[in-house]
């Protein structure tokens, strides 16, 4: 068996092939509309925020955990960001004004929110041994509640983060795209090129074995949930920057979207297997389907049905492959 064939058989390549097929199909169906650089830039900007949280979720799922509290992490990130802006007096920044200090204040607030919710998740999961599904279900409700109380149920708008959400450092490329790329690269390095990633995989495939080779499993899990929290908080920061407002009710299904993207990307829900690149592809498949359907005049709601089907097929193929490998 040549190495090329082996690479073609990896789950990531299968999903990547599926994505290419979908793109090719839409390009043939709507030439000149779908396959334009403008459309792809728009797509990349649309998926940027989901990409950021999905990177964090990849780490969590590789440890055989799950983070349902992503929506509350994002919303709290938004809320802390605007509260930080209010504290430094930057909430009423006019469109067009640029104050780097305000941007950093908001970023600090968002990261703080993410760290807090990640720390609670991590402590409850790692040290109190509560199943992740339940622990993060609890912080999902609790976090959203805190956000609503802090905001009195009303959204706050601000233009202070416009330079992040609407600027363009590289000619023609919206800022959210390079920012998401940086997070993806950082996630890739941390997961696939650092000891931290090795430990994450080790804990996911066999926590007891990981413990015996001297990994502090509890502390590592806490760190993984911190990553999940911080990426959610950062996504909240980006969301405020992009939409120029908090969106308390606007993220309720982000956790399921992130899990879908991660699962599409070949990361095993049983832990121990996964990749950042796969997640990146997994984020794109639903987005491309939706975009292509709209351009081709198909009712956009069919995209959800299609995403469900793609998810089933992707995971099913992955399981088939694993079973045949275990046999052989």
């Amino acid at each position: 068996m040549t190495r090329a064939k082996e690479i073609l058989r990896t789950p990531t390549m299968v999903t990547f092939g599926a994505l290419l097929l979908i793109i090719a199909a839409f390009s043939i169906m709507a030439p000149g509309l779908f396959n334009t650089p403008g459309n792809f830039l728009q797509l990349a900007q649309n998926v940027a925020i989901l990409t950021v949280v999905s990177v964090g979720t990849t780490f969590v799922i590789i440890t055989a955990g799950v983070d349902l509290s992503i929506p509350s992490g994002i919303v709290l990130g938004e809320v802390f960001a605007v509260h930080a802006l209010e504290m430094v007096g930057g909430l009423d920044t006019q469109p067009g004004e640029v104050h780097i200090g305000y941007v950093f204040a908001a970023l600090g607030g968002a990261i703080l929110a993410g760290l807090s919710i990640g720390a609670i998740n991590g402590i409850v999961v790692a040290y109190m041994k509560v199943p992740p599904l339940l622990a993060t279900l609890g912080t999902l409700g609790a976090g959203l509640g805190v956000a609503l109380i802090l905001q009195n149920g009303v959204n706050t708008s601000t233009y202070a983060l416009d330079p992040i959400g609407h600027g363009s450092w590289i000619a023609g490329v919206p800022n959210l795209i390079p920012i998401a790329l940086i997070i993806v690269v950082a996630g890739y390095v941390l997961l696939h090129m650092a000891v931290f990633g090795r430990h994450t995989f080790a804990i996911g495939s066999n926590p007891e074995a990981a413990r015996r080779v001297g990994i502090n499993v509890e502390r590592h899990l806490l760190k993984v949930y911190l990553i999940g929290g911080v990426t959610a908080g950062f996504a909240g920061f980006l969301s405020v920057a992009y939409f120029s407002t908090t969106s308390i009710g606007g993220h309720s299904t982000d956790n399921l979207q992130a899990v879908t993207a991660v699962a599409l990307g070949g990361t095993s829900l049983f832990g121990g297997v996964g990749s950042i690149i796969g997640t990146l592809i997994g984020v794109w498949i639903p987005a491309v389907l939706k975009n292509g359907f709209v351009i081709n005049g198909v009712q956009p709601y069919w995209q959800d049905v299609a995403v469900g089907l793609v998810l089933i097929v992707a995971v099913w193929l992955d399981q088939l492959r694993r079973r045949s490998r275990n046999r052989g």
């Binding site: 041994k129 279900l137 409700g141 399921l256 879908t260 699962a263 829900l269 959800d304 049905v305 399981q319």
Partner: protein
Amino acid sequence: MTTARNLPVSWMRNVAWTRNLALVGVLIVLFVVGALIRPDLYSDADWVVNNTLVILQHSAAIGVVTVGMTFVIIGGGIDLSVGALIALAGVWSTTVATQSFGPGGMIFCALAVGIGAGLVNGILVAYGKLVPFIATLAMLVAARGLAAQISGKQTQISGDQFINGLARTRILGVPTLVVILIVVAGLGWVLLNRTTFGRRTVAIGGNAEAARLAGINIRRHTMLLYALSGLCCGIAAVMLTSLATSSQAAAAELYELDAIAAAIIGGTLLSGGRGTIVGSMIGVVVFSTITNLFAIANLPTEVQNMVKGGIIVVAVLVQQLQFRLKKRT
């Protein structure tokens, strides 16, 4: 968790009863808190009875879903698609075409859609060997999309007097929806505790391999569990349609989380093999009572999310503590 299975049955029953008593204790505490906040309302006996019925009416739809969810979780699975299935069944049964068949046609349609979608879940999990989390997550996404497709994201008004009347009539002074919940929960209790189907569910959730060696057709049984959950969703869809006199694709959002939370609070083990219908039902009522309490106290409804989240975590912590203590002895 392995220890629980080796312990004598009488002990397990004990734990279930202690837990249910503790939950009833929580209900009493909530009642006392309500009485302290609004003594003017709680001193009126008629109001208290009425309010209790309101709480139960609120519990009705989610309670029915939780019965199905309890079975699925005891059987070692999970069903994330319940909210979406309710929306799909609700929307499908209130299309103009379906409404022309009258209440019987609408109810049949809701139940059939629920069972059908549940069967798909079951086949994917049992025969496709997909992880329940993923299979039902995919169903969640797909069913919501299909519901939006059917309704065109419009709210569909139900013009049927019989269906709409369910939420507005009473049988012997008890709201009809509550009667439906009691019947469903009662049937669920019998099914779980007094039939081979129930025994098998517990056996599969406790130790699937042992159950298989004992000659249980695990695949078929698992499939049926998800179909049962789908059936419960169909019933809940009719109840929600009746309450709102309409259906929409966004109905019952996040019901899956409420149902899972209620079942867990009620003592159902997330890893399967243990759980009671009575516990789940008290869990549902506890959550509805909290919601009701916040409304009465004029507190922002948002705070209840925090309280609910806190309760879930505390309940699981208590569950774990019990296990650790039992392990030591």
